[in-house]
């Protein structure tokens, strides 16, 4: 997260979609388009699309999710940053409680394991009040320290 911030934004796309499965395809397309700007290979683009879809699914599966998913995709010089946020939670009854560990909450089921495998950097924050906030980065091959 820290080092990626230092790069200037080449391109930034923000998308708000209803938090419903039929809109996930649009998220996939948006991410694919931005990933293509970073010149990822087809395989990498498929991976990024898959990761984004899983992140959206994670939000949707959360039984207290909000009305929308906010997707932010940034094309950097040699990396792609994607943020998937649960939003529009006004009026959604939420139980108070301690922040949950992502795995414990099981909101993504197995999806989070897949996301971690496909992306180079994954951080997330899940709590009953603010919903899911997942941030992930994929670096261009060669730009990785491996």
């Amino acid at each position: 997260m820290k080092q990626a911030v230092e790069h200037s934004n080449l391109e930034l796309v923000e998308l708000r979609i209803p938090a419903r499965p039929e809109w996930v395809a649009l998220a996939r397309l948006a991410v694919a388009t931005v990933a293509n700007r970073v010149h990822f290979s087809l395989e990498e683009i498929e991976d990024v699309k898959l990761a984004a879809a899983e992140a959206c699914a994670a939000v949707i599966q959360h039984d207290r999710h909000g009305e929308f998913i906010d997707l932010t995709c940034e094309a950097l010089e040699n990396a792609l940053r994607v943020r998937v946020r649960d939003s529009g939670r006004q009026g959604v009854a939420v139980a108070a409680g301690a922040p949950m560990n992502f795995d414990e909450a099981r909101i993504a089921g197995l999806g989070i394991f897949l996301i971690r495998t496909l992306m180079d950097e994954v951080t997330y924050d899940v709590n009953p009040q603010a919903g899911t906030d997942l941030f992930m980065v994929k670096r261009l091959a060669g730009a990785t320290d491996n």
Partner: protein, 266 residues
């Protein structure tokens, strides 16, 4: 809350199973005789984690290989992970196994020439969408909806949209390029126009074939086919331009289509 308890119990069960398995595995490392208990525990671990393999395989199933094959190679990855996992790593087995399973699935794609497969899959789906949409348009008397197309092609609606969008990136072939329609009529493709004239020509699928077929035509026949199907010029108009009768154009067109069909059905 209930779900969280269940998840914790699952994890504890898995850890206990692994503890027993790893003990057996260590003993089996000096294999004088096979240890049935080691095998049994290994099998049990495989069964317990098959849903993970399946979950992952399904995610890759849209990349053009059968799901069963992916589950199979994924299971190979699972076995590798089971044989290498150590409890001291302090990570959950699922965290450890996922990259191994995904790695195995991806390697399978690479061995299968995956890099060419993706564009081909998109191309194929894109071509199928184009063909089906015109077929349905004729059947329905209107442009089909994405839902109808998805049903017709046994594909997801998102796949249809994606193929349509991304297909353009691959410069799809002239056969499916649009032929401008007369007036406000829905535009058609050359393949479909020919298909309407003779449904036996549905097999028109790729440019190479069509180009090959065109070499069988005389110059005049080619001009007629071009004007008629690419430019949507009427037979009467073509007749005027070529200074022959409309009947003659009609005969030449029929002959040209006959030739095309003969070459294409070979």
């Amino acid at each position: 809350m209930h779900e969280r308890d269940e998840a914790r119990r699952d994890r504890e069960r898995t850890r206990a199973l692994f503890a027993r398995f790893i003990e057996r595995r260590r003993r089996a490392e000096a294999p004088e005789k096979p240890d049935p208990e080691h095998e049994r525990l290994r099998d049990e671990l495989v069964v317990v984690h098959l849903n993970l393999v399946r979950f992952l395989a399904v995610r890759f199933a849209n990349r053009g290989e059968p799901l069963d094959d992916l589950v199979q190679v994924g299971t190979v990855g699972l076995l590798k992970a089971i044989d290498r996992f150590e409890l001291e790593r302090g990570v959950e087995f699922t965290t450890y196994a996922t990259p191994t399973i995904v790695g195995e699935i991806k390697r399978y794609f690479r061995d299968k020439g995956w890099a060419v497969k993706v564009p081909r899959r998109l191309q194929e789906l894109n071509l199928a969408v184009n063909r089906a949409s015109d077929k349905l348009a004729i059947a329905l008397g209107r442009s089909p909806t994405v839902t109808e197309l998805a049903e017709h092609l046994h594909a997801g609606e998102d796949e249809i949209l994606e193929a349509q969008e991304l297909g353009q990136a691959y410069n799809l072939l002239s056969l499916d390029s649009e032929v401008s329609g007369e007036n406000d009529k829905k535009s058609q493709t050359l393949a479909d126009t020919v298909g309407v004239a003779d449904s036996g020509l549905e097999l028109l699928e790729d440019r190479a074939n069509l180009e090959r077929a065109f070499t069988a035509l005389t110059g005049r026949e080619r001009v007629i086919i071009y004007l008629r199907f690419y430019e949507s010029v009427s037979q009467t108009e073509i007749a005027k331009r070529l200074n022959v009768s409309q009947m003659h154009v009609s005969r030449l067109q029929a002959k040209a289509l006959e030739k095309l069909r003969a070459v294409l059905v070979e």
